[in-house]
Amino acid sequence: MNFTAAAETLPDDSLTRAQAGDSEAFAELVAAHEAMVFSLAFHFFGQRERAADVAQEVFLQLFRALDTIESQGHLLFWLRQVTSRKCIDELRRKRLRSVSLDDIAEPATPAPDPLLGRELRKLIARLPESQRIVVTLRYQEDLGPEEISHITNIPLNTVKSHLHRALRSLRRSLEES
């Protein structure tokens, strides 16, 4: 199970308290998972504002579905799944193709090579949607192909093929640039 640093410090009973209607406990859940949810959407769209909108919709949906969440592990799975689906649905709905380079902001803590990191995020945001979500879940969330297949409902072999193609495409684009 890949918990984020913030999620690891989450009190064990926060989910139960949130389900009982405790708004502070729900705020704890948002605080623990907001970076993961926002980052999935940000790395998918390459746009902070759109990513924030999608992340907000995800937490609103979580609020409505809180009673169906069985555990902290289930919550993490649910958030990854709903965020991934929302990103793809949103893209298909709005037919977002262009990526604003200005919107691809640098992280708060610089990556080992900020220029390369920026270039990579730009290239990822240009991958076909299925490859993009698979790469983001693989390298942002450090998930294996089986977990990605489970979350995205994409067959395992297709996940592996998306990863392979995406890496080949990224490698080629980096060499050309």
């Binding site: 948002v30 926002f38 907000q56 009673d67 990556a111 990822i124 983001t136």
Partner: protein, 96 residues
């Protein structure tokens, strides 16, 4: 650093914009959440309404059917009376 390590570094978690959490929580406050017990009560109330509506319609249809049947019987009765009168008139005429 190989490509996979570079991707992990490039795709590290980022914090959402300032004010994100407040905005997300405010959105949930505008959406009252139905507790499971209330959902069950609401579903039961809806079912009762639907069942009540169906029963009322069935009773009304039966009532209309009954009215139609009575109208047909009255029409038959009138026709029978008319036929009897006509037959008697013919019978009287043929006896004279």
């Amino acid at each position: 650093m190989n490509l996979e390590s570079q991707l992990r570094a490039a795709l590290r978690h980022k914090q959402p914009p300032a004010g994100f959490r407040e905005s997300a929580l405010a959105a949930t406050r505008r959406q009252p959440r139905l507790r499971p017990a209330w959902r069950a009560i609401a579903a039961a109330a809806l079912l009762t309404l639907l069942a009540g509506g169906t029963t009322a319609r069935w009773v009304e249809e039966r009532r209309e059917g009954q009215r139609a049947k009575e109208q047909v019987l009255t029409a038959l009765r009138i026709t029978t009376d008319k036929l009897r009168d006509t037959r008697e008139t013919i019978h009287e005429a043929s006896n004279h």
